[in-house]
Amino acid sequence: MAEFLQFLISGLTVGAVYALVALGFTLIYNASGVVNFAQGEFVMLGGMVTVFVSAAGVPLPLAAVIAIGVAVAIGLLLHRFAIEPARGASAVTLIIITIGASILLRGLAAIVFDKQFHKLPAFTGDTPVDVLGAAVQPQSFWVLGGTAVVVLALYVFLEHTITGKAVLATAANRLAARLVGINTTTIMALAFGGSAAIGAIAGILVTPITLTSYDVGTLLALKGFAAAMLGGMGNPLGAVVGGLLLGLLEAFGAGYISSTYKDAFAFVVILIVLFAAPQGLFGRRVVERV
């Protein structure tokens, strides 16, 4: 039982990070139809900038805010100088642009920072908490709580503010959105900035547990993409559920089968989803009457 609980909590913790990456994918995909493979680099930037700024003597909370700011700025630059000029290009072209941006950001991080692994101190100490026999790192609660706050904030923004509804409207029907006076370019910039912030927050929360380096983004982007696919691309609820499920699958797979194949589970999931149910768990079923 304690073992089961141990796997459950570590699965949910990792899954929460995948959920945040998947939410980043979803937000940009909804506003622009672009699958942004530089999403993992936002996570990397969150962790790395926090590590280096706090190493320079800045208190951790302030360093975290600076890291989010840097990621948002880079997200906006990515939109302004790489995505916006290619407006109207095919989906494949846009995806290749984001892959290029991801390689560029990784390279810049290797130069500006270094190629070492870095750790952040856990926010509230390293003494494990006993939960019904399972030893849980206090940082796990930060990851889960932080994810819950981000998901809730995004929900409130999308469902209860007029700008949030404009994002949903742009996702639903870009032409009609432009005709009611929504500036869809601004909405896209907002999505890139928001996604970058969400990614950076994920990176800051998880770095005390998993360490970070200039190239952690690649695998995280693939896992987050798998989570988004599993949940149904474009569905925020699906992104969260997909992320948590993927995290659980990895934790239980590694625990009960073999940790050698931990990373393989995500890709097995992508393959199964693509073959068996390309619309994912919560994929948009066509309900609109004609």
């Binding site: 007029i162 432009r178 609109e288």
Partner: protein, 234 residues
Amino acid sequence: MLEVRNLRSVYGRIEVLKGIDLDVQTGEIVALVGSNGAGKTTLLRALSGVQPITSGEIRFKGQRIDRLPPHKRVELGMTQSPEGRQVFGPLTVEDNLRLGAYRRRDKAIDQDRDRIFTMFPVLAEKRHLLAGGLSGGQQQMLAIGRALMGRPKLLLLDEPSLGLSPLLVDQILDAIVSLKKDGITVLLVEQNASAALAIADRGYVLETGKVAHCGAGSALLADPKIKAAYLGIA
């Protein structure tokens, strides 16, 4: 209100608008009729700024607007109800109407929404339902209502009667006539040419990207050549 001079637009290599001249005076209902592919929808989209133009001028209330982005044109008082009931399917009826007022910052938004509900009572009944689940006629009413929520001076209506039952067509046409009484100028694109010309002050007949005829609605309706060519009446 609206002056269009020598407007040209292309889709790929095909020129769809080949130099359109068109005027809409304040307070008029102007009908734009013509067969499929004549360029009616393209013209409306060019007026709203969602279809690029290659040359020509568009003036709205005396001001050049052909270089303005779509949201600036909405702000100036020109809104469009697009063809094919393009509502925001995953959002509620109420949210759709609220988004129609996206550019507005005044306090009378709820009041205007209630007026739309008076105009189309069925929308009031379904205000909390998702727009994607409405019937075709209800979606059409919603698209018109959403365009009205922008408090337009000039309303562009693209095929409001497309695919609707005759009863609903009459209801929509009555609503358009009542808009005129409220001081809203209307540019109406219709395949149902006889119905559109019957309620219009003036009409334009578009033929492969050019204005082929124009004149008073009643005069166009009475013209035997136009009857035979566009109205399907021998």
